[in-house]
Structure formats: C-alpha cells, structure tokens
C-alpha cells in the first residue's frame, strides 16, 4: 500500500486564481515527481526532485512551479490558472538508490488531483 497523498482530489477554479496542489509521502523517499496526464494520453513528467532544495523541470514544459523544503512534501503551484491547465496531476515518489547500485526503479503514485479551470 503506497503512502503518498494528494490534495485536493478534485478542484474546479476560475481563470486567474492561484492554486497549490499538495503532495506528501511518508515513505522517506528522496525522489519525488509530478506528472501531468490528459484523458487517454500518456503521462508527461513536468517536475522532479532528488531531495530537499532540489527541483528540476521534466520533459514537458509547464507553467507550474514546485518546491521541496521538506523531504516528505512536494507541492505544485500555478500562480495564475488558465483553462489550458485543466488536466490530471499525479505525484509520485521513489527511493534514490545508492551510487553505483541500481535502485528498484519503482514509482509509488498518489491518487491524483484533477484540476478544471473555467
């Protein structure tokens, strides 16, 4: 059972509002990720983090920002939401793996936050 939580599960909001999607994990994982998934489409990595104070942009360009002040917490923020931001956002975490040793590669996912911007 994965211990990674996302809130809110569903959010409907007007254009121009600032929103923050929360993601927390209790597994002590160093690596955390945000994926964006549109219906029927593949998951696209938009942000990831190797640990505290580490944030990197993923393959898909996104206007969102992330922060990693604590190991267990990896919130995603949109300063001014637009209809084009309507999507599902999935948070995930994994073990970092020791240098020179392959880690398991398994990601643990939260249940997702479905955002609708009107």
């Amino acid at each position: 059972e994965a211990d990674i939580y996302q809130t809110p599960r569903y959010l409907v909001i007007g254009t121009g509002k600032k929103i923050t999607l929360e993601c927390s994990q209790t597994m002590g994982h160093d690596k955390m990720y945000w994926y964006q998934q549109d219906p029927g489409m593949e998951l696209h990595l938009i942000h990831y983090s190797y640990g505290v104070n580490s944030t990197e942009k993923g393959d898909l360009s996104s206007e969102s920002t992330v922060s990693r002040i604590r190991t267990e917490h990896f919130p995603l923020t949109l300063e001014s939401a637009r209809p084009s931001h309507t999507s599902q956002y999935l948070c995930a975490s994994s073990e970092l793996g020791l240098a020179g040793v392959s880690n398991t590669g398994e990601l643990f996912f939260g249940e997702g936050s479905r955002l609708t911007v009107l």
Partner: protein
C-alpha cells in the same frame, strides 16, 4: 531520449479470453521495463518489472510480460482475464544501470472486460 508506444488504446474482451497488450520502446542502451495498472478510481500501481535475467517476468494477478530485446518489445499477457482486470495499463521504460528513475510512459491501454 527514450519513447514508448502502446498500439492498442482500447481493448474489449469477454471474461476468460486471453490478453496481450503491445508495448514497444525506442532506446539504444540497456533498459528497465515496467507495466503499471490503474484500476477505476485508484492510483497507479506496479504490475511487474524487468531489470535483467529471465526475459519472461511474472507479476501480480497472473500477469506476465516478455522482454524481446531484438524487437524492443515488452508485451503484457494474461491467459484468462477476469472482469476485475478492467483497468488502464501503462508500459514504461527507464535507462538501465544507475541512470535514475526518469520513467517514460506509453499512452496507456484501456481494457474493458465484459462479464
């Protein structure tokens, strides 16, 4: 960069039918391969994975997948599906070795099993 193709977007089967979902990837080096499943209303979870060794891997709930390096494929199979297998299935790849967990996902296959 690697990419993953899942050719079947929607599959409808009757219970007890056999299942094979295609997955092809493009990457020149060694890879780690995964199948994730998302049941309705639930989070994505790992179904099975291949890192090295026997190219036929077995996962949970009777699923298996075969890595065929020459075909860059990692197809998912199940001899007899059940209604409870209705879900969306995602194939994913990451570079092998210690290259981290930058998983690249396919577009997913939505499976519906009719009772």
């Amino acid at each position: 960069a690697q990419s993953v193709s899942q050719h079947n977007h929607h599959v409808i089967l009757s219970e007890a039918a056999s299942l094979e979902l295609g997955c092809n990837y493009s990457y020149g080096g060694t890879v780690n391969l995964f199948w994730y499943v998302q049941y309705p209303g639930q989070h994505l979870q790992l179904l099975l994975k291949y890192f090295s060794g026997d190219p036929l891997v077995k996962g949970i709930k009777g699923f298996e997948a075969e890595f065929i390096k020459s075909k860059f494929s990692f197809n998912l199979r199940k001899p007899s599906v059940q209604w409870s297998d209705t879900a969306e299935y995602f194939c994913a790849v990451t570079p092998g070795g210690n290259a981290g967990n930058m998983l690249t996902f396919g577009g997913g296959t939505r499976l519906m099993v009719k009772p």
